[in-house]
Assembly symmetry: C2
Homo-oligomer: 564 residues x 2
């Protein structure tokens, strides 16, 4: 291990703690193994007639939580996915590109006329290793669990590899997995799967270094980020992205127009299709798994945007708007959409069609500008699907609670059930300093209605760049939102998780409560600070400092009911 | 000023900052003046054709934010409310009780046969000073503002003194205001008013002192708590409450059974009606504004509670359940309900009928135990109304997102639209360490559907007693939830507030953004830490560190649209 690695894996970050271990579940169709965190419970809990003394958790931390993994940030993670596919005859080495300076691997792309996207295979009826991987990972495939733990009972759909294939074939789900990101542990985004969260990282011209951003990226995965987006806009964009990708077990998304703009010195009007196309290919060969592309903002929509309280608040959108006005021409990401799809298709990169006109204030929510663009995103979805390109749709933004449901309904209707990926929504404009919570409130409601992935917001939103603490806070708060939405949707594993937690609470099993919480480090620490003698030792008595011995409701409740 | 006062008003707490001042609005019917915080904006903003260079904010901080107020924690605040009523002939001095050791005032109570409750006056068609006070305070009375700023337009009801009176007469709103809490600035709780929040304070047997709890109480009001509940269960209950009441500009609630239990040495089975009754009177004469009383848990409901995952999690409820089982008799708070109402009526104390069977886990949400009790709470509501006693109803607890709407509907139906006052609901069981956010998520949805007051939850919930930082965090996060619900309900002042914030954001007016946020101290601090030269000086350029100059969407948007 290098010093850089040592810095990243300080004891604080080993949050699995003493009662958890990394386990792997083998595939039955493909040579895959899916990592999970298994919690060893201090006692056996009987839930709906079934006994649990361990509990497996969905795990986004990749090899970083595996004590047997060999980690070196300068080399990157193992290229495990390359091994799953055996000798593929549909890929070729990219002749124009140099091997990765980190692991020496030469980028691959689809051979001419050979489609390789997950959507292509799904439509052909083929279950790929990625599909089986995510089916196991979702951990919902047991029909008996659905019957026992989902309050919806049999109406919840079991996640089998075949179900994953069907959802991808219909465009209702995506697996962002560039062939050039072999370090990736595949995950699925769609409304019939667990709600996912994304963490944005990346520097701006005014701060942060490569090592800080790589550290934030790994840190985000350890706390639960399902994907990360590298939104760097400052110097060293290419190199920062290389480091992040080679060390990332989760899909990495980018907004390629940021790098394109750097290439023309920050002058939007000097952008052109060729520069943008070359940037797409450069990033595709590095292994970016999904691109945010603002193809839906049309010159006709700009007058409606100009009438708004906060105009255009999407960085990519404002760049395109400026270009359109400077040249008085239609958005080149719209006019070149077919060519964009051809590139994405060659690497199996998903497109996250950007909402350039998302509202930046509740006054602008659900307005003409927003919904005009959303309809266009729906048209572009159908076009991308013609190319077998996987699609998700980006969404708001700032939306008050009473307008959230309309957003979800219109997205499903206009965009043909392509997965919805949203920033928040923030339910008020005045929560600076607390916008992560603002976003979690709107996000929980939207996700419970069908939004597939929430983009985290940190406490620094509207104020500055997040640091590591902000990343952790943003990730956990949005995991909370995603999990609460899973419960609302009747996910049996989510219900089982809560049932175990409450059983542990009622049994005063403090260690189990810590381990089953979103943040075992924090719960242990807070509880220790509040132990009567401040020594940090876990109380063995059946009460805590909140109420003291005479006022513990659970203690009394057990005396009354004779349980447990 | 005493040293104690100096300790409380350290510079950190003077969060009004340089651009705000305390203003007072005079009543037109009664000799009242309503305090508000007026923000001086750095420029004039044009919103819907109207110009704003100042903005008045609802203010719960009382005299503590008035530089001209004379403050001495050992004496308490001025007895302003005593002056509003002139020479009342419906009150008498309580003969059996000694004057307050702090301000020397002798407790008052209604003369025999003279009803004095707000509900009594409302039903008689009388607008009290308290009713006019809250009408001004809600700041929604301008019909022109409703038309301009509420997205619902004319369907939002203007808050006039007469409207307040009607809502109270119907039992749809309450003004908790004990005649023995003359330091109080009245506030209204009801679904047609701003959503309110309560902060729980109070020590347990295992920690905290009187001065700490008084400090937390004042601290909670300064950050925005609309009421505080003193839930002390340890030593010095009486004295702690006296200090809190005499220094509280907001209504104070208690759960009298906690003190009654202390009187019998913590042995629930030794409780009896006489001890409880005397405790009610003791607290009534001190000035408690509302009592949580668990009259709705009946012996018949205990088998359903025993079948639950987490049994009974209400402290008061578990005490009563234990008493019922020990004596095999019906809940004495149910059998003596008429006598309870007679006591409350003599001081105009509101009853907050406790939900002893609120679910403590999502597995128990909306179950037989919960809804059986809720129906009983509805019956008790009608009985209290016969005595002209103001009522609110306490609610969950732990409820997943998909079951929240049913809770609100059933409460409105069973409890005849009496205001709903809820703890959360928490939308998952596994968020220990982040339960304030968990509660804000459920609370925002419930309040947007009609819940009138949210009880805050702090980051320490399920783990320990909150400290001052936790109180601030809990208060602000629930203010966020309440405000987001107000927006969803179309409150014109809430919309105006957000519009001003977004206009300030689009104008890069940083100071206005700080002042219009929930927490000007934190926003200023975070922004300063992120300024490029770390000096803390506010940036004058039209961008910030989040995006840097080339990637600022708002800057580009203005270049494109020609605004502002």
């Amino acid at each position: 291990m290098t010093t850089a690695t040592d810095n990243l894996f300080c004891p604080e970050q080993q949050f699995y703690g003493p009662d958890s271990e990394k386990i792997y579940i083998q595939g039955s169709i493909h040579p895959i193994k899916v990592g999970m965190r298994s919690i060893k419970l201090s006692q056996s809990y009987r839930i709906q007639g079934e006994e649990f003394s361990t509990f497996p958790l969905y795990d986004t931390s990749g090899p970083y939580s595996d004590p047997s993994a060999r980690l070196d940030l300068a080399e990157g993670l193992s290229c495990t996915r390359d091994e799953w596919h055996g000798n593929r005859n549909d890929l070729e080495k990219s002749p124009a590109t140099r091997p990765s300076p980190m692991n020496g691997r030469t980028p691959l792309r689809a051979k001419e006329g050979k489609p390789i996207t997950q959507m292509h295979f799904a439509r052909k009826g083929i279950i790929t290793p990625e599909m089986e991987y995510v089916a196991i990972r979702e951990n919902q495939q047991l029909e008996s669990w659905i019957e026992k733990f989902s309050p919806n009972g049999r109406s919840f759909k079991p996640v089998t590899p075949e179900f994953v294939r069907e959802e991808i074939a219909k465009g209702r789900a995506i697996i962002p997995a560039n062939v050039n990101h072999p370090e990736l542990e595949p995950m699925v985004i769609g409304k019939n799967f667990r709600v996912k969260i994304n963490a944005n990282i990346g520097n701006s011209a005014l701060g942060s270094s490569i090592s800080e951003e790589v550290e934030k990226s790994v840190w985000a995965c350890r706390w639960g980020a399902d994907t990360v987006m590298d939104l760097s806009t400052g110097k060293n964009i290419h190199q920062t992205r290389e480091w992040i990708l080679r060390n990332s077990p989760v899909p990495v998304g980018t907004v390629p127009i940021y790098q394109a703009l750097e290439k023309v010195g920050g002058r939007a009007e000097e952008l052109n299709w060729e520069i943008y196309r070359d940037t797409l290919i450069e990033q595709a060969e590095q292994g970016v798994d999904y691109f945010t592309i603002h193809s839906g903002i049309l010159i006709d929509f700009l007058p409606a945007a100009a009438r708004r309280t906060t105009g255009i608040v999407s960085r990519g959108g404002s760049i395109i708007a400026k270009w359109c006005r400077a040249h008085n021409r239609e958005n080149f990401l719209y006019t070149h959409f077919d060519e964009i799809c051809e590139i994405l298709r060659a690497y199996d990169i998903a497109i996250s069609i950007g909402d350039a006109l998302r509202p930046g204030s509740i006054a602008d929510a659900n307005d003409e500008a927003q919904f005009s663009e959303l309809k266009t995103l729906g048209e572009l979805t159908l076009k991308a699907w013609e190319h077998d390109v996987q699609v998700m749709i980006e969404g708001p933004g700032h939306v008050p609670m009473n307008l959230i449901e309309e957003n979800m309904q219109k997205q499903l209707e206009y965009c043909h059930e392509a997965p919805f990926y949203t920033l928040g929504p923030l339910v008020t404009d005045i929560a600076a300093g607390y916008d992560h919570i603002n976003s979690a409130i709107g996000g929980t409601l939207l996700a419970s209605l069908g939004c597939a992935m929430l983009c985290y917001v940190t406490p620094k939103e509207h104020l500055g760049l997040p640091n590591k603490d902000d990343v952790r806070e943003g990730v956990i708060v949005h995991k909370l939102a995603a999990h609460a939405a899973d419960l609302a949707k009747g996910n049996p594993v989510a219900w089982l998780h809560d049932n175990l937690m409450s059983s542990a609470r009622y049994a005063f099993a403090w260690n189990d409560q810590f381990n089953l919480s979103f943040d075992p480090v924090r719960t242990r620490q807070v509880h220790a600070e509040n132990s009567p003698d401040k020594t940090g030792k876990i109380m063995e008595d059946n009460f805590c400092t909140m109420c003291g011995p005479d006022f513990c409701a659970m203690k009394k409740s057990q005396e009354v009911t004779g349980k447990p």
